[in-house]
């Protein structure tokens, strides 16, 4: 089995992508709502990623 060596950012982006797809599928009732919710989830994941990343950077000095 090949090994992959992803950075924190890459791993978190992949995590956000796959999780958002499933959350979008299972949460809403129409395809349009699912797409919108999935995209919104992905956006929030990425926003949280940057916000927490900067908070840790500033917290550590």
């Amino acid at each position: 089995m090949p090994k992959v060596n992803l950075s924190h950012f890459e791993a978190a982006l992949l995590f956000a992508l796959f999780t958002s797809i499933v959350l979008g599928i299972v949460s809403k009732k129409t395809d349009r709502d699912r797409l919108e919710y999935g995209l919104r989830c992905f956006g929030w994941f990425v926003l949280a990623l940057f916000a927490i990343g900067w908070a840790m950077r500033l917290g550590h000095g």
Partner: protein
């Protein structure tokens, strides 16, 4: 007043209506959706769960085995095992083909472990969706 506003409990649908789809959905992520003719959604679930599991293995994540001891240890290992097990055939194949790896220190391995557990948890969400569709509570 508050008692009146309480949501009405839905009756449990017959077992034969939802069990085959839920069982197939556990074994093959997305399989329950395929069985219920929701092919697009099934394909996306299969893609997401399979990719997450595969990345988890390639990142050197560990597959949990149930372990008892302290309370925290039991929660982490038994919970992790259930999460891994929820991936169905991917977990079975990974164990069968010897992809269970030793626990190594490092951020990438740690991410891999989280990917493996999350793949199973995403499949649990998909199973709830399958149950709702099979029971006629959702289209």
């Amino acid at each position: 007043m508050a008692a009146k506003q309480k949501t009405e409990k839905l009756p449990m649908p017959p077992l034969k209506l939802w069990l085959p789809a839920v069982a197939l959905g556990w074994l093959v992520p997305g399989g329950g959706h395929f069985l219920l003719k929701r092919n697009g959604r099934g394909a996306l679930i299969l893609f997401s769960v399979a990719s997450m599991f595969l990345f988890g293995i390639m990142m050197g994540g560990i597959l949990f085995q149930p372990k008892t001891g302290g309370l925290l240890e039991m929660i982490i290992f038994c919970g992790g095992f259930l999460g891994d097990l929820a991936s169905g055939i991917f977990y079975i194949f990974a164990i069968w083909m010897g992809y269970a790896q030793p626990d190594l220190a490092g951020a990438v391995h740690d991410y891999g472990t989280k990917f493996l557990v999350t793949a199973g948890l995403l499949n649990v969400l998909a199973l709830v969706d399958v149950f709702d569709i099979a029971a006629g509570r959702k289209s």
